[in-house]
Symmetry: C2
Subunit: 393 residues, 2 copies
Amino acid sequence: MGYIEQWRSDTPGSLHCTHLNNAGASLMPTKVIDAIKLHIDLEAKMGGYEAAAHQADAIGQFYDQAANLFRAQSKNFAFTANATDAYNRALSSIEFKPGDVILTTSNDYVSNFVVFLNLKKRWGIQIKIVSNLPSGEIDLDALRDDIIKFQPTVFSLTHIPTNSGLIQPADAAGQICKENEIIYLVDGCQSAGQLDVNLTAMQCDFYSATFRKFLRGPRGAGFLYVSDRMLDNNYHPLFLDMRGADWIEEENFSLKDNATRFEDWENSYASLLGASAALAYANSVGMPVIQNRVQLLANQLREKLSNIERVSVMDRGTQKGAIVTAHIESLDPQLLKSALRQEKINCSFGTKLNALLDFKEKKIDWIVRFAPHYFNTEEEIKKPVAVIQDILH
Amino acid sequence: MGYIEQWRSDTPGSLHCTHLNNAGASLMPTKVIDAIKLHIDLEAKMGGYEAAAHQADAIGQFYDQAANLFRAQSKNFAFTANATDAYNRALSSIEFKPGDVILTTSNDYVSNFVVFLNLKKRWGIQIKIVSNLPSGEIDLDALRDDIIKFQPTVFSLTHIPTNSGLIQPADAAGQICKENEIIYLVDGCQSAGQLDVNLTAMQCDFYSATFRKFLRGPRGAGFLYVSDRMLDNNYHPLFLDMRGADWIEEENFSLKDNATRFEDWENSYASLLGASAALAYANSVGMPVIQNRVQLLANQLREKLSNIERVSVMDRGTQKGAIVTAHIESLDPQLLKSALRQEKINCSFGTKLNALLDFKEKKIDWIVRFAPHYFNTEEEIKKPVAVIQDILH
């Protein structure tokens, strides 16, 4: 059996649909499904705490698998309920004063922006936006200048924005943040499991991500990477849980020495074990293999779509990732949605609520988003193209 | 088949162990287990987003089942990843100023206390503690006096503390908070699914709880009740997610009009559907039936334990709940732990890290905690008693 056949035979969902919604939620491999269901059965049989004690070693391996995939140490990882929760825990650990600046980009994730606006109202922080190059990435010279000009507390970068193929230069930005000693917070929701991410090389202080997307884990599972610098300087979430601290005296608590101080006491261990199996599966396939194949398939799709009249591929960036977005002139997106659904092609649609600033710049009000993964075939890539050609004919 | 036989036949774990750890995590009924696994299979087959769309009606029923069980409206409930997370989201929605007072009790949950201490450091809030009656409950006259004296922003009450049978007078305290117009935040982790809780009668502003304990749902699932008053006055979490708000203009967002503004976009829908099945099961058994049987079994256990020499039952309160705690003079708790494990009796042990203030008052450093549920039998209640008698013999 070839690699692709093996990956598909490990992915029961690949028999049932053409899944190009991997930037939304991917299809779980059998090992992930089994890990979740096995633990639910154990909890049902033994009790929830008793099952967690029984699986203590397997639970510990979650941190090792994450360390292996993202080139860091086990102590740098925390399991969270989702990516935004991970991101917010990181942000909450920073003691902002009124007037403090958060520097970010016009392509940052909408939830992050809503949080910034709320912190502006509640804490009086300021939001500044680094300008982009004509190719779409942030302008690294502008980043350097803005850091000097605004003296920001933190630079927040969404590694791969949700609505375009763009890959931001996260490593180069990390070097600039390090030189200027500002906190570097990366939203890796779309890059984890898609790119061969090396967190040590990125030099970020925090990296938050979800499992349901390119990592192919369960929904309702995420993680936070916390750098040694943040751990050594006692950064901890504002709403610190007893998981993260011991209450040692009436007026005092002591922090855990690793990133689990960012976790809550209570977790879905079934989801954590599913996430761990997803990390192990990605480790076994190999991130360089995944990254290359995903970009190959996405580039094929971009090329085919851009050859259709009335279709504009909206992706930017010098190096493009798995997310392929397109807008079709004078077409009701509902028509396209139904036609794709009829052919069992899974994808998603974006509106300006998902990315206000980016859509404003692009002067469009909807996009269709296809995101292939390495288990997709070249035949599958042709299917949405055929559907669109058919509608426009 | 009688009721008890039916409940046990619906509970596969009851065949395998004597589960008296229901205040830790209870045993899930078959309908809960099936709801979780069915949805995991759907996600694996269809994709995560596609499965959620397919189950939209069932997901909506979660809020209706919660409203039914807790006597409130569907719009007042938010699904969360756990109880502390729910509690912290509620707390985060309050705009504390330096010097603001949180009034609480010496029996509040340890995670809540760690959060208070951190907010004291970060925001300069003050923590004041209402005194207890000799019987263990808070002194309602003292509550009234402290509210006048300290003018607190919020009163936080743990309805049933984790380490004793105590049930706090939550409804009476609610009336006092209402008369004085202070925010009333109830930690219902141990009361949800154990007591016949009527949130409308309690008049609380927030009530946070977990599913894994007396509600018999999955781990990693909780909920937050938010009163109409809080919703109407635009209370929302500090780290607001795009689930809770629409980003309508560059500098503005609009809040959802129901309690889902306290949710994140991303959830484990498998866990939510399991939680919904757990609520439906509790609704079908009936909370008055559950409450009566749990107290009957717990009282039997208390009586049997208190008849053993060297054993002190540590529970306080005029009306006592399902949690039975005991300390045994001059006994290494490890011995007891092994003996109970050998007989497959599930329970838990507490140390002063779990409840510093309470343990200090009781002058002990460990307790064993048994918590029966309605599916336990009177025969099962006798088992830990026999084990203790055997050890002390």
